[in-house]
């Protein structure tokens, strides 16, 4: 992939994680600060096996927790069943991303000094997989 944008710096541990994770990633500023992860694997039961995942870095991150995830192109299940809480959209760098409204719970709170982009990505992977567990 050509010309990966690095429009702002990430904290060191996040850079290390993303480089280890091995997918092409970008940091862009479009209103908010966004991390884009390309070729993000979903599951064969979605319409796109690979998408771009976007994470908004909240002001105050890493002391303010990360929340939700945004996918482009939009995901639907190949069996036609609806995916709840994905009706919202977010325009990022002129592309319309699908917002997956998923949040930390009291059982799984954001822990400062422990949680970061890496642990958020583990959560995203879980959200994608959990869709087929109900």
């Amino acid at each position: 992939m050509e010309n990966l944008r690095r429009q702002f710096d990430l904290p060191m541990e996040d850079q290390l994680f993303l480089n280890d994770y091995g997918l092409p990633w970008e940091t862009i500023v479009d209103g908010s600060h966004w991390v884009l992860i390309h070729n993000f694997a979903t599951d064969e039961r979605y319409n796109h096996p690979k998408v771009t995942a976007a994470i908004r870095l909240e002001a105050g991150y890493p002391r303010a927790g990360l929340d939700m995830v945004y996918f482009f192109p939009a995901l639907i299940r190949t069996d036609g069943k609806p995916i709840n809480r994905t009706e919202g959209t977010q325009v990022i760098a002129n592309q319309t991303f699908q917002r997956w409204s998923r949040h930390r719970t009291a059982q799984n709170p954001w822990v400062i000094g422990q949680d970061n982009i890496g642990t958020h990505i583990v959560l995203i992977e879980d959200w994608l997989a959990r869709e087929f567990e109900r």
């Binding site: 429009q7 702002f8 710096d9 990430l10 904290p11 060191m12 940091t27 479009d30 209103g31 908010s32 600060h33 908004r56 870095l57 909240e58 002001a59 105050g60 991150y61 890493p62 002391r63 303010a64 927790g65 919202g88 977010q90 409204s101 400062i112 000094g113």
Partner: protein, 467 residues
């Protein structure tokens, strides 16, 4: 080559930990290693204590009243951490007899140790040596590029009480205008005021009275920060402003800097007409000894609390609360007239842990600023409660709270209150009930305590917006 003004800052808790180790009560020398990050600034090079490694007494082969010897293999894991995080290494030991200078033994030991440390730690950072005297006072030196020793110009402790130990104390001449307050606070305090570098963030309602008091107290250097302009809505409460400034929409910080110069008491003023959420502003403010926060924004106060933690700086936060019934038959009836001064020490409780705001509110406030469309969408979707915009302001209340903050600052520089400073972390003043409510420290802030002395990192304060 001119050496920059070089300082070392610790928190009161770090200083207490060192005192407990270096003065165990057996009247023998003891040693510890400080690992420091820094603010490598244009005005100052501020070392900030990040880690303290205590060398166990039982592992010292020699401990006497005048000497301590310890195996240097204990240094190896410490130096590995210094290398990994580009930290400065400061050897710190005691002089139980109170000898107020480096001894010949110290000179020999430091000439052996410090070049070795510099060779090991690959980063181009300075390393040094510090002595702690029985009364807690500290002095130090760093290794120069020619393997010479250069005095640490200042060591300060940010605790309940504020300590500043200069390498060249009592040498400057005091101007006559400070004679009146020197009578109360003494020459030592007045001299320290003259040497202090203080930042005031926000030059409006509470900021301008704070600035006015600091310059007339003879503060040496002021960094004043505000990106806002005058308009006719705020001439009613900004000191040193005129209707001409409002008509011209003068920059507040620049207007006040001109006034300070005109007053002519010798304060060096650096006006910064930018928002605190600007990396260059962070870099300038982080070179100061003390910050006064005179902002009413949640994200501004969060940022200043974080900056003060990363860079080991005393933070006085001013807040005013005026509340009147907005509608109905009792419209305008005054419900509340009060304000609070919070004194915040790095590693202790914060504005967050004291319940002034939550991290969620910080994120929402910032989202509204950086991505208003997304913020509006989230308000619509029910994630964020809409924000009330109207804020009343009255000059006499602002000046009252500003005076409360300055008098709290003076009390920590030169204690004069009946209650010890360790019992007071905030003071609320209610003019509605004519009462003062001091509050002690609460539990340390879990959001910020792990970042004490983290200093210069990329991005600044680990906040991506400050790239």
């Amino acid at each position: 080559m001119n050496n920059p003004f070089t300082t070392l800052s610790l928190t009161g808790d770090q200083h207490a930990l060192l005192m407990g180790h270096l003065y165990p009560g057996d009247n023998k020398e003891a040693v510890a290693i400080l690992l420091c990050n820094r603010r490598a600034g244009d005005r100052r090079h501020r070392l900030v204590a990040r880690e303290i490694h205590l060398i166990p007494h039982e592992q010292c082969s020699v401990r006497t009243e005048t000497q301590v010897t310890w195996p240097t293999d204990l240094l190896e894991p410490i130096l590995e951490r210094a290398t990994k995080y580009a930290l400065s290494v400061i050897k710190i030991h005691s002089h139980p007899r109170g000898y107020p200078r480096f001894s010949q033994t110290d000179d020999i030991a430091d000439r052996d140790l410090l070049p070795l440390v510099r060779g090991w730690v690959e980063a181009d950072v300075i390393h040094g040596s510090v002595v702690v005297l029985p009364n807690g006072e500290m002095f130090g030196r760093v290794l120069g590029s020619e393997n010479d020793f250069i005095k640490l110009d200042l060591i300060n402790v940010v605790g309940d009480d504020l300590y500043f130990w200069y390498s060249d104390a009592n040498t400057s001449e005091m101007p006559s205008f400070v004679a009146s307050h020197a009578q109360l606070f003494g020459a030592g305090t007045t001299e320290r005021l003259r040497r202090l570098s203080i930042a005031v963030i926000g030059c409006s309602g509470t900021g301008s009275p704070v600035i006015e008091q600091l310059i007339r107290l003879g503060v040496g250097e002021l960094i004043i920060v505000d990106d806002d302009r005058m308009d006719d809505r705020n001439v009613n409460r900004i000191l040193n402003s005129t209707i001409l400034d409002a008509n011209e929409h003068s920059l507040k910080a620049l207007m006040l800097a001109l006034a300070i110069d005109k007053i002519g008491l010798g304060t060096r003023v650096i006006p910064i007409c930018r928002n605190l959420w600007d990396p260059e502003v962070i870099r300038q403010v982080a070179q100061c000894d003390i910050v006064f926060g005179c902002m009413d924004t949640v994200d501004g106060r969060f940022l200043l609390n974080t900056l003060a933690t990363y860079y080991t700086i005393s933070y006085f936060d001013l807040g005013v609360r005026l509340d009147a019934i907005p509608n109905g038959p009792q419209k305008g009836k005054i419900r509340e007239v009060c304000g609070t001064v919070h004194y915040l020490q790095p590693g202790r409780s914060s504005l967050i842990s004291r319940g002034l705001f939550t991290m969620e509110q910080v994120a929402h406030a910032r989202l509204r600023h950086t991505d208003p469309a997304a913020h509006e969408q989230q308000v619509k979707d029910g994630y964020i409660k809409g924000i009330q915009e109207y804020r009343p302001a009255v000059i006499s209340v602002n000046m009252y709270i500003a005076a409360l903050a300055i008098n709290d600052f003076l009390a920590r520089l030169h204690p004069y209150r009946e209650a010890p400073n360790c019992k007071i972390a905030s003071i609320e003043a209610s003019l509605s009930s004519l009462e003062l409510f001091p509050e002690p420290e609460g539990t340390p802030c879990t959001v910020l305590q792990q970042y004490v002395g983290k200093g210069d990192v990329t991005p600044l304060l680990d906040i991506v917006e400050l790239s």
